[in-house]
Amino acid sequence: MTSDAVALSERRQGKFGDKYFAGRPQQVLLRNWLTFKSSAWIAVVSGFFEPVLYLLSFGYGIGELVGNISTSTGNISYAAYIAPGLLATSAMNGAMIDSTWNVFFKLNESRLYKAMLATSLGPLDVALGEIAWALMRGGLYATAFTLVLAGLGLVTSWWALLAVPAAIIVAFGFASFGMAITSYMKSHHQMNFFEIFLLPMFLFSGAFYPLTVFPGWAQAIIKALPLGQGIELVTKAMAGDFGIHLLVNVTYFIVMICVGLYFTTKRLNALFMR
């Protein structure tokens, strides 16, 4: 007599990628939900406040000094000017927390993935599940932040609703890339790489001031970095500006997602299946 577990697994046998994918990433999500319910939500709430604090202190503090800003879409307050950048940043931060430090812990200390991969799950299930969880956190932050913006009267058009899907794409890209890089990290020491990289990327991203203050070559680099792309994507989506540029931004993130997933799966396989 075959057990249910065997029957389920044999259903996928011979299908594309059956060595790596059992079609059950949602069970990895479920596992995270179970732990989240019981403990982790405090940490999640605290992570949400960071961009809100930036918005309040910089938006209204420095906003007092700089007054209104003229942009392609008109004359707007400084707080409204920095809102899309902070939104993209909050999506990034939400995604990075789960996909970097939390993943590092699960990879190295808790042996969680080892247990998962001893079942009929495959490494792609684990990668997709973890990345989806991280992006949900990013998406949650972005949604909450959009609500804060609306509450503060910084949202002027219905296009602002597009901030949420745009932020989810950004979060997906960062989660996928973050997990891929984390899976190659060997020590806590190396994990500091993320901070070294993320903080300057944030400060020079153009979230707080127009990139035109930089020379052309520097602008090009900043725009090519993931956060630069993310801010562009969110800004344009919120402004309802659907040019070819938006397509470029979205494609950028789709590539980021696919590359991240590919390397995460490959690395998990190398770590736990060798």
Binding site: S3, D4, A5, V6, L8, S9, E10, R12, Q13, D18, K19, A22, R24, Q27, L30, R31, L34, T35, S38, S39, S110, R111, L112, K114, A115, M116, L117, A118, T119, S120, L121, G122, F272, M273, R274
Partner: protein, 308 residues
Amino acid sequence: MTEPLIRARGLTKTYGDFIAVDGIDFDVAKGESFGFLGPNGAGKSTTMRIIGATSVRTSGTLTILGKDPEVNGPQIRAHLGVVPQQDNLDSELTVSENIFIYGRYFGLSSSFINKKIPELLEFAQLEEKKYTKVEALSGGMKRRLTIARSLVSEPDILMLDEPTTGLDPQARHILWDRLFRLKEQGVTLLITTHYMDEAEQLCDRLIVMDKGKIMAEDSPAKLIKDYSTKEVLEVRFGSERNQEMVEILRPLAQRIEVLPDRILLYAEDGEQLLEQIAAKGIHPNTSLVRRSSLEDVFLRLTGRTLVE
């Protein structure tokens, strides 16, 4: 004879230049309780991981239920219950959540798993700990939970890597009892151990491994019969005199082994040998007659003891 459940031929695993498993052959039949006995570093865990389709062999062939783990890893893993050497329970979850989510990893339905949970908790004697976080469990409880968890998918083959290492004697006996029950239900057991009493208790058949190679293969009783005498007389003279006594005693016993603290004399009748020695006017500080064990088999095969 029917096709074996597991068949390995020339199974080899290398890490760089180091050969962890060195071309081993074995068959495991359905319903059998099969053991891997050997000291630390013998290659037992590596062999288990290869069978468990979580490690790729370097060379040789391996079929499990007619499938190759390299090709059908997830399908093979669906048949297996795995109890690794180090527990990898989900420490952030409770006892019953651990079983629940593990079943979900196999794709089992919530209703199926929820029906199984009480039965598995009873099996592991953890009913009272149902809502306890795993962190708060004792070592023995964690081990039992790991075994219970591995059974949620109703595996055909249960693989236990050193199931009782680090447990106190009482916890070990509880575990052995649980494993006997599973065997009665027809589950094929693969067990690694470096405890000879565990191997004798649990295994129908076993291979003795050392440095990645198989030194011998048979039932525990047959191995003892083939590689040792019925009884062993252990004598101690104190560290200085041991060496000088060896030469005097050697002609009296069928075989002699010298350990740092004692001399082992192999004979069919230990008491009789002790009398013979006494008749020669030799009186050891202490003496002990016991049955031969797998420890003696290992000593004979490798010249070393299993547990240092």
